[in-house]
C-alpha cells in the first residue's frame, strides 16, 4: 500500500432485510492492481456487500469512496459509470437473447436509437475470443438458454469484461466452473490485475483463494472481522477466521462396501446419455467424474425419472419405472438437484414446508396434515443438520445458500431414502457447512443408503467417494476405486479420455491412469458426435 487513496473503500455499511441484518457496519478496502478475496461463511453478507458496491442493493447506511472520492451509487447504471462491474452469484442473463446480445446488454451501441449490429459484434468479439478456450463451441448467435450452466457463467463474466471495469466483482463466479474453465478465468483475472484493476473475488473454494488472491477481507455476520495478506496466512488460519474451528472431514476409504447391490442401471440412454451401465451397493458412495457436462447431471435426473430416458433400472432387484420423480421417490430414491434456486427450493414458502414437502404422506391421515408432527419433523431436521434459521415460518428465501442447501438435504432425509442422488451438493456452500454435508453423506451411507454424487470439485469426490465413474459423452468410460481416487488421477482420467476421443492416437502410451471402460461401452457411443 502506498499513501495514495485506495481504489475502493467501503465503510460502515449497514443493510437489513426485515428482521435480518445482512450487513452491520461492514468495511472493505482494496487497491487497484490487487485481487482481493471477500471471504466468510454462508450468509455473512459477502454478496450483499458486493451488490451495494455494484448498485443493485440500496444500503441503509454506507460510506463509499472510489479513488478517494466519496460517491453515492444509486443503481447498477450509476455503478457502471463509475467503472464498477459485477458478476453476481445469481446469473443475470436473459435466456431468450443470444450470447452476443447478452454480452452487450445494457450497453448496446446505437445510432439515433437504432442498434448497430456491426459495432456490437466488434465489441463482443475480443471477449468471446478471450473466453473461447473455456467456452468451447459456443456461438455468438446462440440463445444462452441452450448453454450449460458453466458456459452461461462464462458469458456472465464476459459481460463484465466487456465493460472494461476499474473494479470487478466476481461473486462465486467460479462455483459452477470446472477446473479447466477456472484456469481460463484466472488467467484473465491476472491480466486485469496487472492492468491495475481491483478485483473483488468471492469463493468458497479455499484453493482458489490461496492461488489467486493477494489480500482478503473476512466477513462474519455482516461485520468485517479481519483483513489479511494472503502471503502470510495458511489455509487453516483462513478457515479459522471465517468459521471458527472446523473439524475437517478426512477421507476414509476402506474396502468397497460389501453390502448387497442396491441400484442397477443398464443401457440408460436419452438426452445426453448414450448407454450407461452402473451398479451400486448399499452403503456405497459412488462419484461421477470427468469433464463437466458429460452427462453427469442427466444421469442423476434420469435415475430420478425427471427426464425422458430409456433403459432398465432396478432398486433392490425390483425394476423401477422411470416415469416421474414421484414414482422414484415412492421407491426410496431421493435427488438433491444441481440448481438450488429453481430445482431445490420453493422460495416464498416457509422453511417448514420446504422440509416437509417430499414426505407429506408420512404425516397425514386421509390427506389431513398433523401440524404438530409436521413441526416436530422439521425441528428434528433443523437440529440434525444444524441449520441456522430464524424461525420455521420464515421463507426459505431468507436463508443463506448453505443453509438452504441443508434444507434441501433435510427434505429428502425425512423420506428415509435408500438411494440418494446428489448433484453438486456443495455448490456455493461454505467450508463449515461443506464439512457438515460430507458428514451427512457418510452417515447416510453408513446407515445403508446408496449415494451417487456428481461434483464440480474433484476434491469433493476424493473426500467422500468409495468409487468414481468417469463419464465422457454420456457413457461411463473409466472407473477409479478406493485408493485410486486422487485429484491427480481424476484429472488425468478426464483429460486422457477426452483427448483420446477427440484425437485418437495422440494418447501417450503408459498414461493409462484408470481402467477405461471404452470397450464395454455400446457400439453407438459415437453416434451423433460430429
Amino acid at each position: 500500500m502506498t499513501e495514495t487513496s485506495p481504489l475502493v473503500r467501503l465503510s460502515g455499511v449497514h443493510k437489513r432485510y426485515g428482521g435480518v441484518r445482512a450487513l452491520r457496519g461492514a468495511s472493505l478496502t482494496a487497491a487497484g492492481g490487487e485481487v482481493h478475496g471477500l471471504l466468510g461463511p454462508n450468509g455473512s453478507g459477502k454478496s450483499t456487500l458486493g451488490k451495494v458496491l455494484a448498485g443493485s442493493v440500496r444500503p441503509d447506511e454506507a460510506e463509499i469512496e472510489l479513488a478517494g472520492q466519496p460517491v453515492r451509487i444509486g443503481s447498477p447504471r450509476a455503478a457502471a459509470r463509475l467503472g464498477v462491474a459485477a458478476v453476481y452469484q445469481q446469473l443475470s442473463l436473459v435466456p431468450e437473447l443470444t450470447v452476443g446480445e447478452n454480452l452487450v446488454l445494457g450497453s448496446e451501441p446505437a445510432t439515433a436509437g437504432f442498434l448497430s449490429g456491426r459495432a456490437a459484434r466488434r465489441r463482443a468479439r475480443p471477449v468471446l475470443e478471450r473466453l473461447a478456450p473455456a467456452l468451447g463451441a459456443v456461438h455468438a448467435e446462440q440463445p444462452v438458454r441452450e448453454l450449460t450452466p458453466g458456459q452461461q457463467q462464462l458469458v456472465e463474466i464476459g459481460k463484465a469484461l466487456l465493460r472494461e471495469p476499474r473494479i470487478l466483482i466476481l461473486d462465486e463466479a467460479t462455483a459452477s466452473l470446472h477446473r479447466d474453465q477456472v484456469a481460463v478465468v484466472f488467467e484473465i483475472v491476472r491480466e486485469l490485475r496487472d492492468r491495475g484493476t481491483a478485483v473483488l473475488f468471492v469463493s468458497h473454494r479455499l484453493d482458489e483463494i490461496t492461488e489467486l488472491c493477494d489480500r482478503a477481507t473476512i466477513l462474519r455476520s455482516g461485520e468485517t472481522v479481519a483483513e489479511t495478506a494472503m502471503a502470510g496466512t495458511t489455509p487453516d488460519e483462513l478457515v479459522r477466521l471465517m468459521v471458527g474451528d472446523v473439524q475437517a472431514v478426512e477421507r476414509e476409504h476402506g474396502e468397497r462396501p460389501s453390502g448387497r447391490v442396491r441400484l442397477t442401471a443398464r443401457g440408460l440412454a436419452g438426452g445426453a446419455l448414450r448407454g450407461i451401465d452402473l451398479e451400486a451397493r448399499a452403503g456405497e458412495v459412488v462419484g461421477l467424474g470427468g469433464l463437466q457436462g458429460q452427462g453427469q447431471s442427466e444421469l442423476l435426473l434420469a435415475l430420478f425419472g425427471a427426464t425422458a430416458a430409456t433403459g432398465d433400472v432396478e432398486v433392490d432387484g425390483e425394476p423401477v419405472r422411470l416415469a416421474s420423480p414421484r414414482t422414484a421417490a415412492a421407491r426410496g430414491i431421493a435427488l438433491v438437484p444441481g440448481d438450488r434456486g429453481t430445482q431445490g427450493t420453493l422460495p416464498p414458502r416457509p422453511i417448514q414446508e420446504n422440509l416437509a414437502i417430499a414426505s407429506l404422506g408420512r404425516r397425514t391421515r386421509a390427506g389431513v396434515i398433523s401440524a404438530r408432527r409436521e413441526r416436530t419433523a422439521a425441528e428434528s431436521m433443523v437440529e440434525a443438520l444444524a441449520i441456522k434459521i430464524g424461525g420455521l415460518g420464515d421463507p426459505i428465501s431468507s436463508l443463506s445458500g448453505g443453509n438452504a442447501q441443508k434444507v434441501v438435504f433435510g427434505k429428502w432425509l425425512l423420506t428415509e431414502p435408500g438411494v440418494v442422488l446428489l448433484d453438486d451438493p456443495t455448490k456455493g456452500v461454505d467450508v463449515g457447512a461443506k464439512a457438515e454435508i460430507y458428514r451427512i453423506i457418510r452417515r447416510m451411507a453408513d446407515d445403508g443408503a446408496t449415494v451417487i454424487i456428481n461434483s464440480s470439485e474433484d476434491r469433493e469426490l476424493v473426500t467422500v467417494c468409495d468409487r468414481v465413474l468417469v463419464l465422457f459423452e454420456g457413457a461411463v468410460r473409466a472407473e477409479l476405486v478406493g485408493d485410486e481416487i486422487t485429484e491427480e488421477r481424476l484429472v488425468q482420467a478426464a483429460l486422457v479420455i477426452g483427448e483420446g476421443e477427440q484425437a485418437p492416437g495422440q494418447q501417450a502410451p503408459g498414461q493409462q491412469p484408470a481402467r477405461t471402460r471404452g470397450e464395454t461401452a455400446p457400439d453407438d457411443t459415437h453416434e451423433g458426435t460430429p
Partner: protein, 329 residues
C-alpha cells in the same frame, strides 16, 4: 486445454441455411395455421377474392391487427394490456370530437388520436413501472378509467368521421386496396421499429426483469416505453376503427383487448415475455379473424356456432402451443 478454441465462437455470422433452421417451431406453427385459414376461407367463400372482398376483409382485420401488434410489444416486454380496447375507444371518440366531420381537421384528428393513445399508454406504463402494480389487474383498472373518460367525451354514439378517412379506406392504389397496404405498412413499420435499442431493452425486460436490471437495462423505462408504444398503436387502431365505422362510439372495441391476447398467443408469443415477434401477432390476428369467417361460411346451425368458434380458438392455441419451446432444462 482439453477443448481447443473453436472458430465458431469467433465467427461473425452463421450461414443462412443454419439460421433458417433456427427459426422457432412456433413460427412454423403460426404460419401453417395462417395458410390453412386463408385456404379454407377462400375455398368456402370465393367472394373474398373479389376486389371488395379483399379490401373489406383487410379493413375489418386492421383494428385487431394493430391492437395485436401493440399487445405483442407489451407482452414481449413481460406485461399485458387489458386496456387496449378502452384506449382504442377513447382515442377514437376524442378524434371524432376534434374533427367534427371536417376534412380540414383530419391531420389534427390523427395527432389527437395518437396523442391520446400515447397519454393512456404512459399512464399504464407509469402504473406498472413506477407503482409496480401487476399488469393484468392494473390495466383492468385503467381500462375502467379510459372507458369512463370515453363516455364523458362522447356521451352517446354519434358524430361523423370526415369522408376522406372512410373514403380512403375504400380506395385502391394501383389496384391494391388501401386496407391491404395499411396492413403491409404495419408489418413494415415493425421491421423498422424492431431495430430500436429500446425494443432490445423491452425484450430483455420481458425475458427477465431482474437479470435485465442487473445488466444495466433501464427496466422501468423499457416497461414505460412498451406501454407507450402500445398506446400509440392503439391510437392508430382507433383511427382504423373510425375508418370502418364512419362515426364515434364510446363502447367500440370491447372485445379487442382479449382478442388481441389470443392473437398474440396464436402468433407464437409467450405470455411470460421475452419471446416472439409482432409479425406473428399479425398472423395470429388474421388467423383468428378468418376463423370466424370460415365458421360463418360453413353454415353450421347457429346455436352450435359459438361453441364451434370457441373450440376452434382452443385448437389454434393448442397448435401454436405445441410449437412453443418447453421451458425445462
Amino acid at each position: 486445454m482439453t477443448q481447443t478454441p473453436t472458430v465458431a465462437a469467433i465467427e461473425e455470422r452463421r450461414p443462412l441455411t443454419e439460421r433458417l433452421g433456427r427459426v422457432r417451431v412456433a413460427s412454423w406453427a403460426t404460419a401453417a395455421l395462417l395458410i390453412v385459414a386463408v385456404v379454407a376461407a377462400v375455398a368456402l367463400q370465393p367472394n373474398l377474392l373479389s376486389p371488395y372482398g379483399v379490401a373489406s376483409t383487410f379493413a375489418t382485420f386492421l383494428p385487431l391487427v394493430l391492437v395485436a401488434v401493440a399487445q405483442a410489444i407489451v407482452v414481449i416486454g413481460g406485461g399485458l394490456d387489458l386496456s387496449a380496447g378502452a384506449i382504442v375507444a377513447l382515442s377514437s371518440v376524442v378524434a371524432v370530437q376534434v374533427m367534427q366531420g371536417e376534412a380540414g381537421s383530419v391531420p389534427l384528428g390523427f395527432l389527437t388520436a395518437i396523442g391520446v393513445g400515447l397519454a393512456c399508454g404512459i399512464v399504464n406504463g407509469l402504473v406498472v413501472s413506477r407503482l409496480r402494480l401487476q399488469p393484468l389487474i392494473a390495466t383492468f383498472a385503467t381500462a375502467s378509467v379510459f372507458s369512463g373518460l370515453a363516455l364523458l367525451v362522447l356521451p352517446s354514439p354519434g358524430g361523423t368521421v370526415p369522408a376522406i378517412i372512410t373514403g380512403t379506406f375504400r380506395q385502391a392504389v394501383g389496384g391494391v386496396p388501401v386496407s391491404v397496404l395499411l396492413v403491409v405498412a404495419v408489418a413494415a413499420g415493425w421491421l423498422v421499429v424492431r431495430h430500436l435499442r429500446i425494443m432490445r431493452h423491452i425484450r430483455a425486460t420481458g425475458g427477465g426483469p431482474a437479470a435485465a436490471f442487473a445488466s444495466l437495462v433501464p427496466v422501468a423505462g423499457a416497461q414505460l416505453a412498451s406501454y407507450a408504444i402500445c398506446g400509440v398503436i392503439c391510437g392508430l387502431a382507433g383511427l382504423a376503427v373510425l375508418g370502418n365505422s364512419g362515426s364515434g362510439d364510446p363502447f367500440i372495441g370491447g372485445d379487442l383487448a382479449l382478442n388481441s391476447v389470443a392473437a398474440v398467443v396464436v402468433g407464437g408469443i409467450a405470455l411470460r415475455g421475452g419471446i416472439g415477434s409482432p409479425i406473428g401477432a399479425i398472423a395470429g390476428a388474421i388467423t383468428l379473424s378468418l376463423a370466424s369467417t370460415i365458421l360463418f361460411a360453413l353454415s353450421l346451425p347457429t346455436s352450435w356456432r359459438a361453441l364451434a368458434a370457441g373450440l376452434v380458438v382452443i385448437l389454434a392455441l393448442a397448435l401454436s402451443a405445441l410449437g412453443a419451446p418447453r421451458r425445462q432444462r
